[in-house]
Symmetry: C2
Subunit: 397 residues, 2 copies
């Protein structure tokens, strides 16, 4: 159940046949395989599936891959059951979104041929709108108490400033960042390296369940798919591309978090790092980053200040990007529940809108991304621009 | 007893009368008083002293100062006893150096009218030559054990790489940096905000004495002068101007160390900072610096790499700046005591040169600045360039 404001402008929604083919391809092509991306571009999702399945199509039909990889892809294609996968994700309250869908985060297109074939999504909120105001907080699994503290503090501080916190649901820094956002009744997105119905790590079953309720759990891999080392690495490019910037909290040399940070740099996103004691190996990777392009940040305010400067992704600075009249009914009700002056708690807005607290929260973050509302500590209020427009509208009728 | 290599090229030595006038003026004009600097430029040291002393010269004769300050300067000028001051510094084995002297560090001229009138110096080494390869390490007095550890580690690490460590002899970071350099049998310079015969802080009597033996203790203020808050602040510009770069180890917001760092920046020197936990107020000032122009450094190797890049101040990269034949006799003996191949301990060089270990050490750092030798850990060896020139010389005779 997603809001479907008309602001997407990302072309026509994927047709049903194409959607099923893309769902099947997420089981066939490994995340980030640019060769697969080129095939997809050349033949379209249906054409590519046909070529992978057809027993008579030789290697010439699908150039660029090793014989071995192509053989593995053919076996997978033959075994793919996309309708079952689509049903499985629907059974856990999820969906499958494709390029061209209104909910597709178009910034992922920056990944070129490495763009995800589609995304499996669990949770209420609109991924595209949330991602407009999102920041990644990533770091070491085996972090220190200092790292955990900083991640939680950034997670809650960013949430309190109306930012969506994106991370990888791993132990350590990732988990602390998600928990910090959740604790502040904020919005958070977990990007998994496995199916969105697979709980990994097992110890984070409760956390991932909570994120699916209050936030979003997303991934490139179909239901039931398990993580592998390369999938973890390639998952990081999605975190980097989805967000306006990546903050690395603690990272050793050559760690996965630095991969995310470097992806972010390559994609023109902001790369930030939280310094720590030079005597800690877990800060060594961060310091390396900060000696390069990375910007040193010490709190959520500094992060928000930095990433808030991107003009073309900051609709709140130019007023709402979607006219009020075109909001979907639930979002419109949530917006109506806000007082003309002053800030109120999310629970109070939920009462006024007649919907659940979690649903309301998701809508409030969407309305924030769209420039209608802003968060002040624990409360929400209309933006000056939304009030102005609302007054103009009343005056006009 | 300073080496007087002919590489200075800073004009004629100050005449005796002018030297005495400058010595007197260090007791009259406060450090960094640019108004005093303009008078000095306009009237010369003797002319300025004459105007300050002459009872009939009105304010028009010395424009720009407040009546009160001018009155104070006149009283001080009348009371000045430069010959006594020069004798006092000689009594503690010191000297007074002036712009134009061979030992004058010409990089101080970057301070413009805020350039020191002269410098009172205790210690064996040649300040100008040492300063060519020097780095400042400064920071909080009330530092944490982490800050003390990092300062000592940078002090010894820089000394081991042949760099002269400059600091302010204060408690905390300064003291640790000096001690680190001394412990590595390295070269270190203490820049005081009082007379070079005054022990401040009292608790550093042993340390300052040791620096005067093994390194250099310098300052703008005449013998017996005591430090004041403004003198501490203005002392920092000398540390910044003297060195190729300043490393701040721990500093709160608005601390004196940040003043040094900002002076360094303004003067085009490198500004560096050692990060620490964001949760420590003593790292807050450093992080602020690193969010601006400051470069994050985590060890002495990174500092040396950065500051070693200045072409015009790096004679070692272009071969010796003083011909071997023009070295003073003691330096020449120390140089002769080094083997043609391989590295030896400073003590062994001292035996060969027939001089003391401290004297030898000072000479070795001078020879390093001049490009003849380099330090490898605890040992010293000829540079490739010095060997090449030495061979060419032998071949030629």
């Amino acid at each position: 159940m997603t809001s479907t404001g008309p602001g997407a402008g990302a072309g026509a929604e994927a047709g049903e046949e194409e959607r099923v083919a893309r769902a099947a391809l997420t089981r066939v092509i490994e995340p980030g395989d640019e060769c697969g991306g080129r095939w997809l571009r050349a033949f379209g999702p249906c054409g590519l599936m046909a070529r992978l399945i057809a027993p008579e199509s030789g290697e010439a039909a699908l150039p660029g891959a090793t014989t071995r990889r192509l053989a593995a892809y053919r076996i997978r294609a033959a075994a793919a059951e996309p309708h079952r996968d689509l049903a499985a994700v629907a059974a856990v309250g999820g969906r499958f979104i494709c390029p061209g869908d209104q909910e597709w985060p178009t910034q992922l297109d920056d990944l070129g041929d490495g763009r995800p074939i589609g995304l499996w999504v669990r949770g209420r909120a609109d991924l595209r709108i949330w991602a407009l105001r999102s920041v990644a907080v990533v770091g070491a699994r085996a972090c220190t108490p200092y790292g955990a503290h900083m991640a939680a503090s950034l997670g809650s501080g960013l949430a309190e400033r109306g930012w969506v916190v994106v991370s990888g649901a791993a132990f350590g820094v990732d988990g602390s960042a998600h928990r910090g956002a959740l604790a502040a009744r904020g919005a958070t997105v977990a990007v998994l390296a496995c199916g969105v119905d697979v709980v990994y790590p097992r110890g984070h079953a409760g956390l991932i369940g909570r994120i699916a309720e209050q936030g979003l759990v997303i991934g490139e891999l179909p239901p039931g798919a398990h993580p592998t080392p390369s999938r973890f690495i390639l998952r990081n490019r999605v975190i980097a591309a989805l967000t306006r910037g990546t903050v690395v909290v603690e990272a050793e040399y050559r760690s996965g978090s630095l991969v995310t940070a470097r992806s972010a740099q390559k994609l023109g996103r902001f790369t930030m790092g939280v310094p720590g004691p030079v005597t800690s190996g877990l800060s060594a990777g961060v310091h390396e980053l900060l000696r390069g392009e990375g910007v040193l940040v010490t709190d959520a305010a500094e992060v928000a200040e930095l990433v808030g400067d991107i003009g073309d992704l900051a609709p709140d600075r130019r007023g709402p990007v979607v006219p009020r009249d075109l909001l979907d009914p639930v979002s419109a009700r949530v917006l109506e529940a806000l007082p003309a002056r002053g800030a109120v708690a999310g629970e109070q807005v939920a009462l006024g809108a007649g919907t659940t607290a979690d649903e309301t929260l998701g809508r409030l973050y969407e309305l924030h991304s769209l420039g209608f509302v802003e968060r002040q500590g624990d409360n929400w209020q209309l933006t000056t621009d939304a009030i102005r427009r609302s007054n103009a509208r009343r005056g006009g009728t």
